[in-house]
């Protein structure tokens, strides 16, 4: 690799900015996690409402889908005059986007719990809260984790976009910087880190699902405890 400012990727430029790169990655992770955690909390409540009052399923999933159809750049731009150039602006939009992936998967996961397991839980004298925590939630876990996985990976990409409108300091700032100066190294760095973060989060969820749902694999092997 040729080491100067005109090459496609100038390694020394990155090495000189190690601290900045590290801070950007950490900020990116932080923004992603805040969005997913808050989005998950809201989604659980919405899913609980939807399952408790069946008629709310449609309006809730419809609203989540509607938010998702708004182009992200447009939503960021609309929010800036209201909440300013702050992390809050970015997070409002990011949380909104997680709902489409989370709410329907949580609802579906809970609806797919085998009815005979629920009947057995009731028949053995579990109360509603106990049944929800120790039967419904674990049995819905594979679908819920799948939803979290998609929501997280797409949030990583959206955080990158949020820095285009100067919101937050994720790795997208390198892409913005590179485009402004017509300098390829930061663009490659930003894109590369964005992809690496998405893959890393994805792998974390694969591991989480493997760990949280050993029973899913029981059908084939049947010897693990």
């Amino acid at each position: 690799m040729i080491a100067d400012a005109n090459s496609f990727f100038w390694w020394q430029w990155v090495v000189d900015r190690q601290a900045t790169v590290r801070d950007a990655v950490l900020a990116h992770i932080q923004q992603t996690l805040i969005a997913v955690v808050v989005g998950f909390a809201i989604s659980i409540v919405l899913a609980a409402i939807a399952l408790r009052w069946n008629w709310t399923v449609r309006p809730i999933t419809w609203t989540a889908a509607l938010i998702y159809t708004i182009p992200s750049l447009a939503l960021f731009t609309v929010l800036i005059p209201i909440t300013g150039l702050t992390l809050l602006t970015a997070e409002i939009a990011l949380v909104g986007y997680t709902l489409l992936n989370l709410v329907p998967t949580i609802i579906a996961g809970l609806q797919n719990v085998p009815p005979d397991a629920l009947d057995a839980a009731d028949g053995m004298g579990m109360n509603r809260r106990r049944r929800f925590l120790s039967v419904e939630l674990p049995l819905a876990a594979p679908q819920i984790i799948a939803g979290l996985r998609i929501a997280t990976v797409s949030t990583v990409g959206l955080v990158t976009i949020s820095s285009f409108v100067a919101l937050g300091g994720g790795v997208g700032q390198f892409i913005t910087d590179g485009r402004a100066r017509d300098f390829s190294t930061p663009i490659v760095l930003g894109v590369g880190l964005s992809i690496l973060l998405a893959v890393a989060f994805d792998l974390v969820f694969v591991a989480a699902e493997h760990w949280a749902t050993p029973w899913v694999r029981a059908r084939g092997g049947g010897r693990r405890g």
Partner: protein
């Protein structure tokens, strides 16, 4: 409220009616039935006759529209339903094991709800493994890794975990093949004999009912009780056309199948019986009849451990049918 085990338990349904919302007719209509302590009672009838609904009213999974269900003389609507349910074992059609929990955790469900100590649960698990003839190695598996018969045994072990005075079973053997089914039925009879638990079981299979029951409640459409009697007197005297048709053919033969040779009066035989067919006293009257027919003789010698006790012929076997129990 969990320590009232093996007291004077009996289940009493008094004028119980259940009408489901949006349904014009009652699923169960004015049902009055009492289940004596320690008996194995089977509810049988065509599908939609209200037998499952009745079972579910006993543990409060369905609430009667009117009428009273009482356990041990206590109206269950005046008690906390979760307490009532924890005092009763419950086995359902598709077994209903929790797929995300190991066999061990499945069986320990009710003891945990009752707050038993870890040691007490472990001891009880050992007992249940032995009682249900399970291999200890299945305890750490997940239900999906078990065969249908094993799942069914685990389902019963889970229902019996807290040693409940009452066991409710809703079509427990519908998902297993006939060979396993016959084995599980024999195990149930044996279990009932050993534990003395009051068992209420729902099935649509009259043969199953005749095999396992002390007493059978035949339900007709609309949740009416058509007849409530022992298997033998049901076969001897069906109350009406519906019950007779539901019982099916060859009722006398099936009654003989229920009668152990012990209950048949034997005739004396002389010392010159060596040419005659022999049968052990533990056989049924039906087996004696079969041997009688296949041998072409007019009597069968009954023995115990090789010792001749007497003999039965057609007259004795007919006599066994004369006395409905």
């Amino acid at each position: 409220m969990t320590a009232t085990l093996h007291g004077p338990v009996a289940i009493e349904l008094d004028g119980v009616t259940k009408t489901f919302e949006g349904s014009g007719s009652a699923a169960v209509a004015e049902l009055t039935l009492s289940i004596p302590r320690g008996e194995l009672v089977v509810f049988v009838g065509p599908s939609g006759c209200g037998k499952t609904t009745t079972l579910r009213m006993i543990n409060g999974l369905e609430r009667p529209t009117s009428g009273i269900v009482s356990i041990d003389g206590q109206d269950i609507s005046r008690r906390d339903t979760t307490d009532v349910r924890r005092e009763m074992g419950y086995v359902i059609q598709q077994v209903g094991l929790f797929p995300h929990r190991t066999v061990r955790a499945n069986i320990a469900t009710v003891p945990k709800l009752l707050g038993w100590s870890r040691d007490r649960i472990a001891d009880r698990l050992d007992e249940l493994v032995e009682l249900m003839d399970l291999e200890p190695s299945v305890l750490d598996r997940y239900p999906a890794a078990l065969s249908g018969g094993q799942q069914q045994r685990v389902g019963v072990a889970r229902a019996l975990a807290a040693d409940p005075p009452i066991l409710l079973m809703d079509e427990p053997y519908s998902a297993v093949d006939p060979v396993v089914r016959a084995k599980l039925q024999r195990e149930l009879i044996d279990l009932h004999r050993r534990l003395g638990t009051t068992i209420v079981m729902v099935t649509h299979d009259i043969d199953e009912a005749i095999i396992v029951a002390d007493r059978i409640a035949v339900f007709a459409d609309g949740g009416h009780l058509a007849q409530y009697a022992t298997p033998d007197s049901l076969l001897a005297n069906p109350a009406d056309e519906f019950v007779a048709e539901f019982l099916g053919e060859e009722r006398s033969l099936r009654r003989l199948g229920l009668a152990p040779l012990k209950s048949v009066a034997l005739r004396a035989v002389g010392a010159d019986n060596c040419g005659l067919p022999q049968l052990d006293i533990d056989a049924t009257a039906r087996q004696a009849l079969d041997l009688l027919l296949s041998s072409g003789e007019d009597q069968v010698v009954v023995t115990r451990a090789g010792q001749v006790l007497g003999a039965v012929g057609l007259a004795e076997l007919t006599g066994a049918l004369d006395q409905p129990t």
